[in-house]
Structures are given as C-alpha cells and as structure tokens.
Assembly symmetry: C2
C-alpha cells in the first residue's frame, strides 16, 4: 500500500511506500500516528501546516457488510485538538482499490482559486473548480458525476466548507450516488476548504481489488460475521426504522435533548419516533421497508429515505442524531420539517448535530422560538448567504453560545453533544468529557450497557471500554452497527485480518488498536495545550437537574482524569 502526498500549493504528487510501522494501523489510528509525527500540534488548523488525511480502515476493500468506512482527519479548527471523522459511502472502497493507504493533502495555496483533484491509478490531476464555487453539495455532485462519470467516488465540500465554517464536513457519495455520507464532525470540511479543494474525484477503474492472502479463511470468517450480524435483533430494528428507532428509547430514558437540553423528554416524542416515521412513509406509499444501504454489501440497511406526501424524496438518510438535535432539541415535532432542514444542512455541507445544538442555543438567546421550523430554515439561508447571523450559527454551538452570551451550551472541547443528554446516560457523558475528539457519542456510546446509567460510580469503566473498542473499530473501517455482529463473534476480526494480510494478530487486536490510538490522540492534544480542565462536562450540567429524572452530571473529576490510565 502507498502513501499519496499531494501538495495543494505546488499541485505535485509524491507517492511513497507506506512505512512499516504504519502497517497495522488504519483509519483513525493511522491518522493519529501521522498527525502526531508530522503536524505541529499548536499550528493554525486552517493554515499551511495542517494536513488533511483520508485513510480507509484495515478491513476496507471487500464489501464486508458495513466495513468500508472512510476516516478523514486533521487538527480540528473546532476543537483545536486532533480530529477523525468517519463516514460510509463509496469513497474508502475506491481509495483501497487504488492501493492507497493514506491520502495526505499538505500545505495551502496562496491564491483564491478552487480546485478539483482527480485521482486515478496513474496519479493526480488538478482541474479548476471555480465554476463550482458556492454551489450546494447536491448540485456539485451531479455536475461532477456528469463530467467524470458515475463510476467515480467523490468527496466534496459545500458552501460551508468553502466558508471554512468550523462545523463543516466532507460529503461522500453513497452507493446510489447521493452525496449524503458525511465526515461530519470537527470541521474537516473547513480544512478542505482552507486548502481550496472543492472536491476529490476517485477513479479506481484502473485499480484492483486489495489482495487477500488466504481467501478460504477469509470467506469462512466473512460468513461467520455476516451470519452473526444478520441474526442480531438490532439489525432487523435498524433495517425497519433506521437509527430513528432510538428516539423512543432515548425519550423513555429521559436523555432525549429537548429545547436546548432543558429536558430529557419531549412531549411530542411519538411524532418524531422511528415507528411514526416508518408508518408515515408506508402510508405515503413507500415500500414497507423504506431503508437502503450506504455501502455496497451492507446487510443492515439502516439508511431511511424520506419522501413527502407526493413521493418526492426529501432527504436520505434522516438519522436519530438529527431528529434529536433538530427535532426535540428545537421543539420541532414535524418530520418533514426536520427532513427539509437536514437536506439543507447536507447541501451546505454542515454537521447537523452541531447546527441543531447551535439553533437550540439561539432559541435561548431569543433569536428563534422553540418549535418554529420556518425560522430555523430562514437561519439556514442566512448561513448560505454568509450573513453575520449565518456565520454565528454556522460555526456551531460553542461559538454561538460565546457570541450570543448564552451559558447553557451543550459542548465539550467546543464540539456539540450528540442526542444523549449526559445527565441521564452518564457513561456517554464520560465519553463526551474525555474523548480526545470532543463530545461525540460514536467515540464510546454506553447507552446499551447493562448498568445503572445514573450511578456516577460505574460510568468511567464502561466508557473506557466503549472508547477503546470504538477507537479500535475506527481503525478497521467498521460501522457502529456492524459492531453488534463482531461483539457476538469477536474472533472474526482476528480471522478476517489474518486471512487478508497474512498476519498473526490475536483476539485482543481491537483493544490493542484502540488503546494505541487513544494514546496517540491524547499525546497530540497534550501538545496542542489540552489539560484535564478540558475533560469536563459544562458547569451548568453539573448544577442544573435535568427533568423529568432530575439528575445532574456528577461523575467525579478523579474518575474522568483516570480514564486513560490503562
């Protein structure tokens, strides 16, 4: 496998054989290694010294169900620390078929021109993207597919990334050519924008499938994994409802963010539930199973397709996180409104979690009324139009709170919390507080752990295990929902990796990767200036009881500070 380094100033490509000590790292772990070795931790994240790294996971390349995810990383302009954001879609598969282990964008142009990077087996070509500047993600993707052909994978930014908004992401085509799979968090899109790259087109038509050293053993392990996944009850739930199945569970546990995290239950939760959503889509004439998959080979198919009363597609997917942050958190109970907002956020190329949280803060500041979806849509137009208000909200919840003078801001390390209030699922709160990524449920979700989620004493250990596993899976390119299968047959990870690479790793590989990755990330953040003071849930959440349960976040600082002492 090779490292491709592209200097975006000189537009030169440097191809190198990936060094040996990178071999057993992929995705998030490889990104951490490269950033720690090559990027000054104190650099301006939107300046020339930051690097933007695209790294597929170690299992990417063979359409294993839900294991073809792409990690993108850099120093985050949002958190000021290390950042990896992963996404489904078709990009990672093509990167691996091109024989690329890590694609690294370096330096910064000195002119204002926008560029497309076309990547194929022969090398890279820069083509002007000036005619695409300012266009939304959907229109840009369509034009790029027209121009370069449907067989390509594309990673691109919207106007949000061009404006270097701190919560802008990078969009990727799903397997059906819709640019909706987003490396969402921490402003990776802003870093791509700072390098003046509007899109990267990956053409693997002259590439080849990644080799498998022991195809028989691989096939056996693959079957074992697939069966475990198919038999898992969670898989069927995701297939029927998508991630929106979570709404009712979160509401019942009192952790559904409601009206800027002022309540853990939403009186209209039913109307934004997965069950209601599914029935609505069926009533509108959608097929009885209105979900699809974002990656070829995925048997879970969690991605729901939202069509309006006339059958016109509003957005796909509509995920629980967006429902929580843009729905209940804003007091909005209308799924079509939420879907339209989600489409617009995708089109501008923004993280719906952080913008939903920012709008909640804006409600507390009096700039919008809870429940006023039309006002929310107006504000999104302000973001698109680059107005002062648009720039405030478009930079996410932390900056919005600072600028508008709101104290009740649900962020850690400047990144907005996902749709789980940490006062009633305190283990996820520990993850929010301590993850090197900032608040992010995917860094170590604990809501399904068989523990008392309100007991502050048992959260740190649960979060630690979840964070290690999550960091491990993010080295492999494994979707969170595929982990339900691997949890049943953990040896399948060992067998798949050994069969593919001819290695001799053990069953603890996942944890070894996870711990190494977290250690590298913590070290980067330490050099960037992070300290235990950054590993905290906001003060107001330790003081203000969350209705209806009435709990505060009360995991001790000692527990938080000890979480990475393996």
């Amino acid at each position: 496998m090779e490292t491709w380094r592209i200097n975006v100033r000189s537009q030169k490509l440097l191809r190198q054989t990936a060094p040996d000590h990178w071999e057993k790292l992929g995705g998030r772990g490889l990104i951490a290694r490269i950033l720690l070795d090559e990027v000054p931790a104190t650099c301006d994240p939107l300046g020339p010294f930051n690097k933007l790294i695209f790294a597929p996971g170690l299992l990417v390349g063979h359409m294993l169900s839900s294991c073809d995810r792409l990690s993108v990383g850099c120093k985050s302009p949002l958190t000021g620390g290390i950042k990896e954001a992963n996404a489904g879609g078709s990009t990672a598969l093509q990167i691996v078929s091109l024989g690329i282990k890590a694609l690294i964008l370096e330096d910064q142009p000195t002119t204002s021109d926008w560029w497309i990077i076309k990547i194929c087996a022969d090398g890279v070509v820069f083509e002007s993207a000036n005619s695409l500047a300012g266009l939304g993600v959907y229109e840009t993707a369509e034009k790029l597919l027209d121009r370069y052909g449907d067989h390509n994978a594309i990673s691109l930014i919207g106007p949000g990334g061009e404006m270097q908004l701190l919560v802008s992401g990078i969009m990727n085509l799903d397997k059906d050519r819709t640019p909706s799979r987003i490396n969402a968090r921490g402003g990776v899109g802003a870093v791509m924008g700072s390098k003046k790259i509007k899109a990267i087109v990956f053409d693997a038509s002259a590439g080849r499938k990644a080799p498998i050293i022991d195809p028989e053993a691989y096939k056996t392990a693959h079957n074992i994994f697939n069966q475990a996944l198919l038999e898992h009850p969670q898989t069927a739930i995701y297939r029927d409802y998508g991630t929106s199945a979570m709404t009712k569970m979160a509401n019942s546990m009192g952790t559904l963010p409601t009206r800027n995290f002022s309540n853990g239950q939403f009186e209209k939760a039913e109307m934004i539930s997965g069950e209601f959503l599914r029935q609505t889509l069926i009533d509108r004439g959608s097929p009885s199973n209105p979900t699809h998959s974002c990656m070829a080979g995925c048997v879970i198919r969690c991605s729901n397709v939202i069509a309006d009363v006339n059958g016109k597609i509003e957005v796909a997917p509509l995920d629980y996180e967006t429902i929580g942050l843009v729905g209940s958190n804003l007091g909005i109970a209308d799924l079509d409104t939420i879907a339209r907002i989600n489409w617009t956020l995708n089109d501008i190329g923004l993280d719906s979690i952080d913008i939903g949280a920012a709008l909640g803060v804006a409600c507390d500041a009096g700039l919008m009324k809870f429940g006023d979806g039309q006002r929310a849509e107006e504000i999104l137009q302000e973001i698109r139009n680059n107005t002062p208000l648009g720039r405030i909200i478009g930079n996410g919840a932390a900056l919005t709170g600072k600028v508008l003078g709101v104290r009740r801001v649900p962020v850690v390390k400047n990144q907005a919390m996902s749709a789980y209030d940490p006062r009633s699922v305190k283990g996820t709160g520990v993850t929010y507080a301590t993850s090197p990524m900032g608040a992010d449920h995917t860094a170590g979700q604990t809501i399904r752990a068989k523990i008392d989620h309100l007991d502050p004493k048992v959260q740190a250990q649960t979060s630690r295990g979840a964070q290690i596993n999550s960091a491990g899976y993010d080295n492999l390119g494994v979707c969170s929902f595929a982990t339900f299968g691997f949890a049943v047959v953990p040896e399948a990870i060992r067998d798949l990796i050994n069969a593919r690479y001819g290695w001799n790793i053990g069953t603890d590989f996942l944890q070894v990767l996870g711990r190494e990755t977290l250690s590298l990330e913590r070290e980067f953040n330490k050099r960037a200036g992070f300290s235990p003071a950054d590993d905290r849930i906001p003060e107001w959440m330790t003081q203000e009881p969350l209705p209806p349960i009435g709990s505060v976040f009360d995991v001790s600082n000692e527990d938080l500070d000890g979480i990475f002492n393996w």
Copy 2:
C-alpha cells in the same frame, strides 16, 4: 483593613478583618491570592462561582501622584484565565477611605433585575437599577451623581457589560466626575453584568483617611518621589501630549499597527500624532496645555481633552492605544473621528483596544473598508443595538476572527494586542505571549529598553524584568507613568511603604511582589487549563514579515517557556 464580601444573590454583606497573609499584597497581587484560594479555576467565568474583586493598591489613599489606581479582577470570560485590570480615577481612593482592602462580589442573582450597590461606612444598600438598564455610561453616571451627590465615587458598566460582551470594562469617575477611567481589559465588565450590578456607588464621607505610621518619613519620601517625577523629561512630554506622544515613536520604530497589523508604519501617522493633536487643539482655542489629571494629586496630567472645532468636548482622554487601534489599525487618520469612536466605546463601556482590533479583522473580512470611519461608527451602533454583527465585533478580535473566518487576528489568549506590533518590538511580544493576562503592553512594556528590539535573543530577559516590575507596581496602585519617577528613586517605594504601614520591607519589595503575583497567576492559569501552547504569538506573525522592517516574531519557544523560571 477589612474585606467586604457582598453576596449579590442574597444581597447580604459580610465584613471581615482581612487575614494576616493578605497584608503585604494589594491590587493585582491580592486579587491573584483571593482568586487562587477561592474561585475554582475551571468555573464558568460568567456563572455563580466566579468572584469580582475590587482591590486598591498598597499606596492608595494619600493622593500620591498617580498612585491611587484601582485593580479589578476575576476569572476572565475573554481569556478563560486570571484577570486584573486597573484604572485611574477616584474610586480606589474612596475604597481605602472606607477601610476596605478588598471588595468581593460573590454568587449570582437568579432574576433579571439590575441593581446599584450603595456602599458607605455603615454598610451596603441595594437599590434598583432597572430604570438605568440599557443606558450609556455617560448618562448613567450623570443620573447617579444627581441622585447620590457629586462627592461619591462610582464604578459602573455600560450596555456592553449588561450584554456580557467579553471585552466590556468597568468605568470609573475621574476627579472631574467624567466616567472615562476604565478597567478595560479581559471582560471585567461582563462579570459585573453577570452579577446584575449596573453600578457601585462609594460614599466615603463618613470614612477616614488611611493612617500613616510615620508621617515625617512619609512626607520626606513623598517629596523625593514627586521631585524625581517632576524632573523626569517623560513627565513633561506626557503633560504636553498625553500618551499620544507615542504615535511618532511607534511609527518610526515600525511597530504602529496599521490596517489590521499588516504594516508597522502608517503613511498618515503625522495626522494622528501627539504633536498634530496638540497643535490642533491649540488652534481651536484650547489652552496651550490641553491635558488634565484623572486622579487628585497627579503631577503628570497625561489625560488630554479633545474638543471639536466649536469647542465642544468630544472625549477625554484620547490615548495612544486608541489612536493606534482605532486610527492607524483601521486606516483612519482623522482625530475627530477617532475621538467620536472613543466616546461611543466609553459610553457602551468597551475596551477600545480589543474593539479596534476586531474592526481591523472585520476589514479583512470585507465588512468594512479601511479608512471608513463612518462604517466603524455604524458598527458601533450595531453593538449598542445588540444585533448579530454587533455581538460579533462587540466580543472582541479573537471571536470576530473565529466567526468571520479570518486568520490574521492579533491576539494572545483571546485578548487583542495593544498598539505595538510584536514583530518590531519583540520584547513586548514576549510579554504578550507569556503574560498570564493575555496580550497586554501594560503587563511588561519593553519599548524604552536600551536593547536591539529586533534581536530575538535579548527579549526574554527584558520582558521578564518588565513583567516583574509591572506586576509589582500593580500591587501598589502605581500608574505606569509614575514608574518613571520611582525608577530614579527606587528607595522611595520602600520608604513610603514602611512609613505608611510601619513595616520593614527592603528595596526589593517591588520585585518580591511582582514575582509572587506572577507565580500565583500562573498557578491559577495552570489549573484553568493553560499550558505552554497558550504562551505563543499567533502563527501568522511568525511567518508573515511586517513591512517596512520585514521582521517576523522569532523569539524561541525555549525563551518563552523559560521566562518565569526565576
């Protein structure tokens, strides 16, 4: 001397004898001691756990020339670290006459009412300030003087502090009852606003002058100090020109911030010089010496009074820092425009340095053209009107840069640099980088040191000495300009302190105080999460040469990190 603790929620006063170990600290040092002992360093600076401390310097109380300054401190909402901001005017003198060593505002009300705290020898009374909410500083001060009488001292906030803007200050009456002496930096006004206190009225009519243990020795030392000050050539310069005398010197050294710190010389510097200002005022019929003093007893009288062509007073004083940041830094060469902007900033109660820097950043973002004073005045109205753009600019340069996506932002620890570009006066740059206060020339100015200001190797030691001395003087209540006198007769400090308090301190007292203060402040910041990564000049200033000299900031990180290793 007593500590007065006022709980702004319960409106109760607790009077205590100040503890022994506070005895030999005053002003800035005492604030550091109290904050370190009593305020959790990681607390929300605008929440109930922060405290706002008013502490006069140790020499305050006897109208020694320029030695009656007031320190105000808290955890800064701007920097997230410790903050002390000092000001002249009449407040500190009255606080000492009331026998108060430290006035500490604690806790936070839960209602939206605004309050005046009336303080007299008997205790404190809370009176409603709801009728004053939203009023500018000048009108508020006038109403308060009408209501309470001309003999009071007043500390108050403007609409900026009410809005909790992060660069809002606290205004104090000068000896002529004009509310223009500002504890300017780091958002102390926002903390006062977070405690819902619009004004504090100090009535020392039933107080008494602070005792002097050895009046004869005191008088002798006083005369020696006064004579040294009067004879110093700098005193005459300040008397003639005010601080605006600095403009030409800064310009000639290539350190005058021009067009958002893109140049160190301004082609129209002559038009904003002290010489031009003085001649203009004389031509307009002002007396030939158009300066006055802000504190009773001051022989320097650096405070200039700016009158328009009709003799109407535009603002007083117009200081060099404002001329640099609002003038050359915005490409504005008209002193009347600068004076009007300064008046408005005073009236809203904002730090003119940080707002000037923010407007410079806004110019780079295309929201204003360099040189367009009318647009600057419009933006100030937006601040007053609490619009989204107003809130961006009104929160200072660091947030403005973040929100508007500008990389060229002249801040350290989120606080704007003063009117000395650190690339051509690198010692002041070392102070900007390493001071626990964030960028602030008063924390350790080096421009008058007899060194090569461009040689990176000799700056750290110069800044260290300046920072120690400055921190020491800020314990005493001594104005920067009075230090010229003490520098000639340093034993006068020892003699004044020993005579007043009956102590037996040595000539190194200033440095002992300075080192102790800096150590306390560094410890607070460490607990708040600061690290060496925070002690840096922005990356772009290390990369982008400053015309016309062409220098970058290149003092080594080792030098920066070693500065407080005594």
